[in-house]
């Protein structure tokens, strides 16, 4: 008995075979993997006995293979944030630190699933359109899988991200245009070449990897769901999948129902979902993006409606923060909890602060914030915000003279 056979359109409900399909051919709605939960065997014990990676949740991931393509992704630390609790006046705050995945962002969760599925579907080439983090991840997993690997990026991408992907030696195609154009080109290429584009024709499988950020947090809290979560939003997919992960655990009896409230975090220059929540309108109006949080810079989010829906029905909220608040968020997290995150993490911390201050987040209930990427990849954003060097000669005398604070 196979645990999944079909994809289903979230809009019109039409079903498709579980192959590499782009979007619903009828209405363009996103497709989702449909599981036969009755045939799925998973329990607290089976999870605890599983590997020290997200593959301990394999029964709930859309691959059949017994040898997924893995580099040890997932099972990242969940940290109790005592200093930040005091700073913000919260009772119980946790950081899910996903900056320590193999290629240093949460994208490894979705890519390990997508590349495993690509190999299972018989592709000999994997590809993606990316602004950085996804490029690094696809390059690494494609090589690990022994597949041909082609990564499409905007030609003017920051040096650090080009290097972070190029080191794995993939084909690296720089498209003269913005991420939008790169993505559209990949949509066209997916119809022309028989390649597995992880975030295009493999998207239904790819997206399921994000559920593991729901599973893990629940497991790490002792198999209970957090009462409140703050999740960064670009396309909105991550938030909806964390919700789905918690729901699956609830329905399978692995955790109790907790009524988790979902809070969405966006950057002010790219916040169509947060804007719809604020205005209490169920229309996501596309925007032209402008923010230092490039990994969140999507103006027309594919899963925006579903993210909006989860936020509303869970009793959560959404907010956005400016570039300055993003940098302050990065500094705050580093200097209180020792976690150095990229700009997207600054968005999450900044939004947490804002939602505590305006009373949307209940300070008495547990909160988990999702930190999805690594600060070493967006160094330019904080160059002016690190400690100044106090220069001295190599002598006790010079130190005492130059650093009068030393006692």
């Amino acid at each position: 008995m196979k645990k999944f056979r079909n994809l289903q359109c979230r809009e019109c409900g039409r079903r498709f075979p579980a192959e590499a399909v782009y979007v619903c051919e009828y209405c363009f709605g996103p497709l989702e993997v449909i599981y036969d939960y009755g045939s799925i065997d998973i329990s607290r014990d089976s999870i605890l006995e599983g590997p020290l990676s997200l593959w301990r949740y394999k029964p709930l991931l859309p691959v059949h293979t017994d040898s997924p393509v893995t580099i040890g992704e997932g099972l990242t630390p969940l940290l109790r944030a005592g200093n930040l609790e005091k700073e913000l006046g919260l009772k119980e705050l946790y950081i899910k630190n996903d900056s320590v995945n193999p290629t240093f962002s949460f994208k490894d969760r979705v890519v390990t699933v997508a590349v495993s599925r690509a190999r299972e579907l018989g592709f000999d080439t994997v590809a993606c359109a990316s602004t950085g983090n996804l490029a690094c991840s696809v390059a690494a997993y494609g090589k690990k899988a022994g597949l041909k690997t082609v990564v499409f990026i905007p030609a003017d991408l920051e040096k650090g991200k080009v290097l972070g992907a190029g080191i794995y030696q993939p084909r690296l195609v720089g498209v003269r245009g913005d991420y939008d154009q790169v993505n559209r080109l990949c949509g066209e290429l997916a119809g022309t070449f028989k390649w597995g584009f992880v975030n295009v024709n493999l998207r239904p499988y790819y997206a399921e990897g994000s559920k593991t950020l729901g599973f893990e947090v629940a497991e790490q809290l002792g198999f209970r769901a957090p009462r409140q979560v703050v999740v960064p939003m670009a396309s909105g997919s991550l938030l909806t999948k964390i919700y789905k992960g918690l729901k699956e655990f609830e329905e399978l009896g692995i955790i109790e129902e907790a009524g988790t409230r979902f809070f969405g975090a966006q950057a002010s220059g790219a916040d169509p979902i947060a804007e719809a929540v604020r205005k209490d309108e169920d229309i996501i109006r596309p925007v032209k993006v402008k923010t230092i949080a490039k990994s969140l810079a999507i103006g027309n989010p594919a899963d925006g409606y579903y993210a909006w829906d989860v936020i509303k029905k869970s009793g959560g909220y959404a907010a956005s923060v400016t570039d300055d608040e993003i940098v302050e968020g990065i500094k705050l997290l580093a200097s209180t909890e020792g976690v150095f995150t990229e700009t997207a993490g600054g968005v999450t911390v900044g939004v947490l602060k804002k939602l505590v201050e305006n009373g949307k987040i209940d300070p008495e209930l547990s909160v988990v914030i999702y930190i999805t990427g690594n600060g070493l990849k967006t160094q330019e954003a904080v160059e002016k915000s690190v400690s100044k060097i106090e220069e001295i000669e190599p002598s006790l005398k010079s130190f005492k003279e130059s650093c009068p604070w030393a006692v």
Partner: protein, 90 residues
């Protein structure tokens, strides 16, 4: 004539063409022409109330018509119109 790029899922309705040329001064008129010329396209693009489905995106020279004037957005010779699904993260 305005060039309209047809996405892969709709090409079985346009005899496999990935681009068609149509007359019209506004997006609304162009879509009407498209729907007339290729029966079946209308129900793919619009819901029961006749509104464009929410995952259908229409661009004029790369700009989403929701940034412009919606279906009243004017078009002229040499403009390029594209119909595309929403963008996934990356």
């Amino acid at each position: 004539m305005i060039k309209v790029k047809i996405p892969q899922p709709l090409r079985n309705l346009t005899d496999g063409k990935d681009e068609v040329s149509l007359e019209g001064n506004e997006i609304g008129e162009i879509l009407l022409e498209l729907e007339k010329k290729y029966p079946g396209i209308k129900e793919r693009l619009r819901d029961e109330e006749g509104k464009l489905r929410r995952f259908i995106n229409i661009f004029v020279n790369g700009d989403d018509i929701r940034h412009l004037e919606g279906e009243a957005t004017p078009v002229e010779e040499r403009d390029e119109v594209s119909i595309l699904p929403a963008i996934a993260g990356g």
